[in-house]
């Protein structure tokens, strides 16, 4: 009886030791992301970009000798579910959390990560996310307060439009974009002659495109999520809209082009990130991504990919796994490709967690995104 008891204790201790050794050899970076619902396109790209980077990092020995483990959970593009998934991720004692992409989800779950003092790398773009005093939130792409002024300059100088019709998605991403867009248009004296609100996940855009056409605007600005963008482009093509269709990264990403088909041709705009950027590192990433996942990545793929490398670089810079120190280090950090090739393009995070890097003006030509101009970092 006694020997049985000793045996049980010994095997328990062995199991504990094994678990402890395993925990020491790995670093937990859960991905909480939209894999279904309206954000599935964005989330799937972000996840795959992150997984590609994680496999590369692990193949080279991990971060400070530890392998990255990265459980993936689906927010279903639902803020409530995303909050529960982030809580579940926090319970697993993560080093950082990657995702989500939808602004509405990030707004309700980032407080949990902040309270647990866990750095969170998000693909969300709503302007106010980094304005709430959260020291643990970091963007992987421009916020709207950065992208909209660049977009507005393009409408004024590139399109030379005096009036514009605006179609937007009625969620946190769309509302934030609408506020920033109206502000920038007013500052440049460009009249917004139609303000068309649409729903996330909407499938029928016939009436909305009728409104856009009836406005007789010089250009139409489309600001919805990817799948809705593709449907709007198809409907606009169906109704014979002739004025320039312009938008942000969500309009002329490769996935939207694939979904919209020839209806995407001629669409143009400002993109913060693009896998078609004429930069060798980005093009190499695109090829690796396509080879691994059998589809072309969009900007969200780059967000996920660079997020992992940003964590790797900053962690190796501080030399230990310290979440608070990582967050502190990220503020004001600039990572150059020569320091960390996985970052693809030089990137700087400011005191609020906003990112700054070069961006692009692009147009869809023959079913492909063509970059026509590179815009410098704001800080340069």
């Amino acid at each position: 009886m006694k020997s049985k008891w000793i045996g049980s204790v010994a095997s328990g201790m062995l199991a504990l030791c094994a678990a402890s050794v395993q925990a020491q050899q790995t670093v937990n970076m859960p991905i909480v992301i939209e894999l279904s619902g309206a954000g599935a396109v964005s989330g799937t790209n972000f996840r795959d970009g992150a997984l590609l980077a994680i496999d590369e990092v692990n193949a080279k020995g991990g971060i400070l000798g530890r392998r990255i483990v990265s459980p993936v959970t689906d927010t279903q593009s639902n803020p409530g579910i995303s909050r529960a998934q982030v809580q579940k991720a926090i319970d697993s004692d993560p080093y950082v959390i990657l995702g989500p992409v939808f602004s509405g989800s990030v707004k309700v779950n980032m407080v949990l990560a902040q309270q647990a003092e866990i750095p969170q790398f998000t693909g969300a773009e709503a302007a106010d996310i980094t304005q709430m005093g959260n020291d643990y939130i970091f963007r992987t792409s421009f916020g709207q307060q950065v992208s909209m002024p660049k977009m507005a300059n393009f409408i004024r100088d590139g399109i030379r439009a005096r009036s514009v019709a605006f179609l937007w998605v009625n969620n946190d991403f769309g509302k934030g974009g609408r506020d920033a867009f109206f502000k920038e248009m007013a500052a440049r004296g460009i009249k917004v002659v139609a303000d068309v609100s649409t729903e996330s996940g909407q499938v029928d855009f016939a009436a909305d495109v009728v409104k856009l056409k009836a406005s007789n605007a010089d250009a139409v600005f489309i600001y919805t999520n990817e799948e809705e963008c593709a449907r709007v482009l198809r409907e606009a093509r169906k109704q014979g809209v002739k004025v320039p269709l312009i938008g942000e990264t969500t309009l002329i990403g490769q996935k939207v082009i694939d979904l919209a088909g020839e209806a995407a041709n001629g669409a143009k705009g400002h993109v913060a990130l693009t896998a078609d950027a004429p930069i060798p590192a980005v093009l190499a990433f695109r090829d690796k991504f396509q080879k691994r996942f059998n589809y072309l990545p969009d900007h969200n793929g780059i967000k996920g990919y660079t997020a992992v490398y940003a964590v790797k670089y900053a962690t190796e810079k501080i030399g230990k796994f310290d979440r608070k120190l990582l967050a502190k280090t990220m503020h004001g950090l600039t990572i150059k490709p020569e320091q960390e090739p996985g970052i693809l393009m030089e990137a700087t995070w400011d005191a609020k967690g906003d990112i700054d890097r070069i961006s692009f003006l692009a147009e869809v030509v023959g079913g492909k995104q063509k970059v026509v101009q590179i815009l410098p970092k704001l800080g340069k």
């Binding site: 279904s36 996940g201 029928d204 009436a207 093509r237 109704q239 979904l259 088909g261």
Partner: protein, 267 residues
């Protein structure tokens, strides 16, 4: 509605029935390597088999003998099963669906009319006309109507009632496949498409009259036109609510629907 008339089947998976055939076609192209026209045919036949024959044999026949309510709940479960299966085994993301025709415009005066819209209208009108002709002018169609009106008497008269009911399910499957192939190039194929389509179809059938084919057509047109007019000229935020107001009004003031006839049932 056809199903209700012949077999008292209320199908809450009807929206998912419209969603699924597009994925049959995409799967035939992706995994079977078939060209689009052949995949379209394969998708159509698969829809007849799965949404017609198997739906009747595996879901309706076993459940209907327990009453309408268990069947209704079964179709709700079936809707979830179909949706989640497509999400799990094909994709959670929207998929591009090839167009059946070139997306060119016809200019009539100052109006630009899409050839795509004209083809959809033409195919829809042709399908309805063909269905009406089949039901009203052919022997099988009349037998199906007799089955719908009084199955017991139809059986006495020598009409193969079970076969007539099966035909109804096959016609329903053919119509949803057609609808799927027509709308998927515009809406894109996505596992959630059935949610919107099913609700709209159900509202349209009740508004028009659940026991009349022409009622469903009028109901569909009315709901579609009101929905788009509200979105274009009033408020796109309230577009989803207006058909539901219409539904409430019809249930309160004309429960048999605009063109439906009142039915009496022994309870």
């Amino acid at each position: 509605m056809l199903l209700w008339q012949t077999s008292q089947t209320i199908n809450f998976a009807q929206g998912e029935f419209v969603m699924l055939p597009a994925f049959f076609v995409l799967a035939a192209m992706k995994f079977g390597g078939l060209s689009f026209p052949i995949a379209l045919l394969a998708g159509f036949l698969l829809a007849l088999l799965v949404l017609g024959l198997l739906f009747k044999r595996l879901v309706v026949d076993p459940m209907l003998r327990h009453g309408v309510l268990p069947l209704v709940i079964s179709t709700l479960a079936l809707a979830i099963f179909m949706k989640e299966s497509v999400k799990e085994f094909y994709a959670a993301e929207a998929q591009a669906f090839p167009t059946l025709w070139a997306t060119t415009d016809l200019t009539i005066g100052t109006a630009a009319v899409s050839a795509q819209s004209l083809v959809i209208i033409a195919v829809a009108v042709a399908a309805v006309a063909l269905l009406q002709y089949f039901l009203g002018a052919t022997r099988t169609g009349r037998q199906m109507q007799a089955t719908a009106q009084n199955p017991a008497l139809a059986r006495v008269l020598g009409i193969p009632v079970e076969r007539m009911i099966l035909y109804t399910f096959l016609i329903n499957a053919a119509l949803v496949a057609l609808a799927s192939f027509l709308i998927s190039p515009i809406y894109l194929a996505k596992f959630t498409n059935g949610e919107t389509l099913g609700l709209v179809a159900f509202v349209a059938a009740i508004v028009g009259g659940f026991n009349q084919v022409r009622g469903a057509i009028v109901g569909g047109l009315l709901v579609g036109v009101i929905d788009n007019f509200v979105a274009a000229y009033w408020s796109s935020q309230y577009r989803g609510a207006i058909p539901l107001f219409l539904l409430i009004a019809v249930i309160l003031f004309r429960p048999q629907g605009l063109l439906g006839r009142a039915e009496e049932r022994t309870v």
